[in-house]
Symmetry: C2
Subunit: 593 residues, 2 copies
């Protein structure tokens, strides 16, 4: 019986982090009484608070703030909350213009979730107080600061952040901190962050020549260099093999389409600011695609008439383009052009469960190939306020997702009401070797697009019905997944994913001919290159190691005479002596682990 | 010693066709004396002439014109030419406004080659006369119409054509005709055209569900349906295998890039009307790529420092977007979005010959895979009027191309002065089963872009040098090549290219389980499906035939007991009985022909 977690996070830790953000604000107000306070929520590894300040904060300031925070924490102040009227709130925060703005938004019911204050509240406000500091806040907090270890947190950096994420508004200074239960947890986390920085995929990707980004092409647009493109191809082929086995059919669709597609899908209403600008051609308006869905729906129209044609499973390595502000772009993980291992399943309500089972199995198998053996599953259910589709369809499909998770005996978290308005979903996350969590796969049911696009099939009872549409991406985007792989493998790709698997290094020119022959024997099965340069042997081996070639074979007089070759294995630092006629079976063993 | 043809076409046939276009104009003037004459050149299968007429021509008109043309041809009038002054010309054609416009253009030296009149002429005009008809014309013509068999030609259709191809000018009526040496040649050609129409890739592509184009996505934007996408994948894999063997390195580049790329390449100066409109993002101007070259050049910068890094052979299945007027779009052969099997070789001058040899070998081998066993080679040399690059580099590189063709013992045509201003090239054409010629591959040397983009390498003498850039596409665009394949195979793709290779057809439900087991045995190697529907056997076989499945295996009681299976081969209409344990080796034989 699978374990169901109601809440994904460590509730107590969130309270501690949130409370520390209040302490941070308290100290900043002590130091700069004219400071204007923004918001200060907990984060995945700590907390932050935004401030409009008369000074630019320095590292020395951070240190001083942190020291004062520790003193306050040691005082063990209690937190208390109180409901007040709008008028009282306006009086209380009369010198805090951002808080007044929030009160205005709250009272008119317009506040979005970014501000971390309860939505929909209209005539009452919640405030929290500890010591002399009062904040407009929905909580929750610790009962008392004595619950917090004064050495379990630290401030990390200051960064600019627009008020309410709006680039037309004031630029505030956001102070970040880490916070954990214990000093040891904090130290471990800091150590992992330091380790992770060493293996930043941007650095590895450039030094190993996997990819590049260049000014002339544009920010966030990735040039996949030969080695990176080869790894990408290997990943694609791995996915392709698996998908064939699961009854998927690959398609190719264009990178642009008429605006009618995006009007119908709702993207032009809700997503336009993330789309590249319109292109007008012969009086028609075109857009670069931010999603593949509308194209797959058009293909559904061509291929499906009756229930006998279902389920239809379409897959595409679809390159999409999304506008992100250049300041937010980051290596391969936040880009403007990305290729999704995208797919859509069109099926009947009755087929949902078996399709979800199949997709989950696919995801689990595929992630294992990349050494992610412990994926976490998150089920998001019907949102409370607004959704499309009947009660019946929501209930049936949520139950189908639960049944699928149960059938596969998977533990999962439930995010009640966390689904999109058009259907429930399952998210899949993995943790990397630095304990960072990455959202990878999504399996999203959609009751909306089939209706908006008016696609249907004739059911066995002769009635026209809308199919259920399942959007699913296995690895998300190839760019982001490759970035994750590079960091998780610390640049040491496993043998099967290495663009160059074996390098033959000759002791001198005389053995180059033999190296060519050996390459010919190994080549159909492995990716083998020869270093026949005039460099010294040690320099050649060093080059191969720097380029992260997993296996290096030295070739000299003795080796050729004895037909036994020294094989250096980078990842285990072993030196093995392998007979010539056993080389193929030896290396083959690396392909099946 | 290879044969070199100075002129690619049958000179006499061109003269006949050109002469028939004059006869056509003569008849139209007889019938409608107020007719305004455009131009009338020979074509690949006949001739045409453009007219501004007071009536819309009907099929009946065409028949009457054709009949009158035969009478005139039978008269055997002689052609004579004469040089006249501009003034005389203006007098002679005073009632023909288009001819007067041509004379104006000729006399000011502005005429482009579309008008089929000699360029650069400024004070003299050439006219040709037969019977009473005189035309402004550079010739050549037959000596006398008695050389033409009166039954060797026919008129085929009327279509609209703008004067001088300019859509802001008058729309003329263009009358087309076929013409050959003999009535038999004509009949054969007409038969082939009829045959070819039956196998139009647009019809086949739709009925076999290989691809579709839909209004909502936009004209000229191809949706590759599952079966077509699978064939495309097989073609790509075939190319990929070959290219790995030839030392190419695959890359992936974005579909958009900043305008600086297209300013530097010269596309914004010379090709802008064929590019999709600009997109402005954060004050930068972006364009959808019409070519991959600038991206490959940026990758050269990342990968090449010294002569030791050359040659660099980059390959990409690059999707590019080009604006074509919607009226000119046609199935897969003229589209707005296409994927090139693109590649660029960067090398030194000394490496040109061996690189060209390698590319030509690659092309010949690859075309053989698709049953094009007799490609034709066309060498285009330095244009007379304007070119970039030194005399030395032109001479060396033209000689390298010739040496490569000679080394491979290839016949080729020379188009003197037919090269681009930036380098000589070799075009490769094939003929399909309807004797239509298709331009497939291009190998284009480029002395220009490396200079414009300022890319260089350090040579062995320590000096910085610009590399030679070789643009080469093997099959051109995957869309167009697939269209050609569909027509050339008449919809019957060979076994290795068939999306579904084998269909198992069960006599009744009882044998479905066995079919599944057999599918399991054949599947790793072949693409096998099962028809387990409740249809009658004959209907199942008919369905498989309609879907052009090359091999159909029937499974019933007797077959299972005897372990011998009837295999129906579509393409040869054979029925073979194959033992169960020989099925794999039997079908394997189809993969190697």
């Amino acid at each position: 019986m699978p374990r169901i977690f109601k809440q994904a996070d460590d509730e107590l830790l969130l309270r501690k982090r949130h409370s520390l953000s209040h302490v941070l604000a308290q100290v900043v107000l002590e130091f700069w009484p004219e400071a204007q306070l923004g918001i200060g929520p907990p984060t995945k590894d700590g907390f932050y608070y935004d401030f409009l300040l008369p000074v630019s904060l320095t590292d020395r300031d951070l240190k001083a703030i942190e020291t004062r925070m520790r003193e306050i924490v040691k005082q063990g102040y209690r937190f208390s909350s109180r409901v007040i009227s709008i008028e009282e709130g306006k009086q209380l925060f009369k010198n805090q213009k951002f808080k007044l703005e929030l009160i205005e938004l709250i009272s008119s019911g317009k506040l979005d979730e970014n501000a971390s204050v309860e939505q929909g509240a209209v005539d009452k406000l919640l405030i929290y107080q500890h010591s002399s500091f009062i904040d407009l806040c929905r909580g929750p907090h610790v009962e008392s600061l004595s619950e917090i270890d004064e050495n379990s947190f630290c401030l990390t950096k200051v960064a600019g952040a627009y008020w309410r994420g709006d680039e037309t508004r004031e630029m505030l200074q956001r102070i970040y901190g880490y916070a954990f239960h214990t000093q040891e947890d904090l130290a471990n986390y800091v150590q992992k962050i330091e380790d992770a920085k060493k293996y930043d995929h941007k650095v590895l990707g450039q030094s190993l020549k996997f990819f590049s980004v260049c000014e002339n092409v544009g920010p966030g647009l990735i040039l996949w260099l030969p080695k990176g493109a080869l790894v990408r191809y290997l990943i694609e082929e791995k996915i392709r093999q698996r998908l064939f086995g699961h009854g998927y059919r690959f398609i190719h669709t264009p990178h642009i389409g008429k605006s009618i597609l995006w009007e119908t899908s709702g993207h032009l209403d809700n997503y336009k600011e993330n789309m590249f600008p319109e292109m007008i051609v012969e009086n028609d308006s075109y857009f670069l695609k931010p999603m593949n869905c509308p194209f797959h729906i058009e293909i559904f129209r061509t291929l499906v008439q009756s229930y006998r044609d279902l389920p239809l499973r379409l897959a595409e390595f679809g390159s999409v383009y999304r506008y992100e502000r250049s300041g937010t772009l980051h290596g391969l993980t936040r880009v403007r052009g990305l290729t999704q291992d995208d797919g859509h399943i069109f099926c009947s309500v009755e087929q949902i469960k078996s399709e979800i089972c199949s997709v989950l199995n696919l995801i689990i198998d595929l992630l294992k190939e990349f050494n992610f053996n412990n994926p976490q599953f998150y089920l998001s259910t019907r949102p409370k306020d607004f959704s499309v589709g009947s009660d019946e369809i929501w209930q049936t499909s949520e139950q189908s997702l639960i049944d699928a998770l149960d059938d596969l005996n998977l533990n999962y978290y439930v995010e009640e009401g966390g689904g999109a308005f058009y259907g429930p979903k399952i998210d899949v996350k993995v943790s990397d070797c630095f304990d960072r969590e990455w959202q990878i796969s999504t399996v999203q049911l959609d009751f909306n697009l089939p209706v908006r696009f008016g696609i249907s099939y004739t059911d066995s009872d002769g009635k026209k019905k809308h199919p259920i549409m399942i959007h699913r991406a296995l690895l998300g985007s190839l760019e982001r997944f490759f970035g994750l792989l590079l960091e998780n493998y610390k640049g040491e790709l496993p043998f099967w994913l290495s663009p160059e698997q074996i390098r033959l290094v000759t002791v001198s020119d005389k053995f180059n001919q033999f190296a060519l022959e050996l390459q010919g024997k190994l080549c159909p099965k492995f990716r083998v290159s020869i270093d026949a340069s005039a460099e010294r042997l040690s320099a050649k081996i060093r080059d191969a190691e720097l380029e992260r070639v997993p296996a290096i074979i030295t070739i000299g007089k003795k080796e050729i005479e004895e037909r036994v070759f020294p094989v250096r294995l980078r990842q285990t630092s072993e030196l093995k002596f392998i007979k010539e006629d056993e080389l193929i079976s030896y290396f083959s063993s690396f392909l099946h682990n």
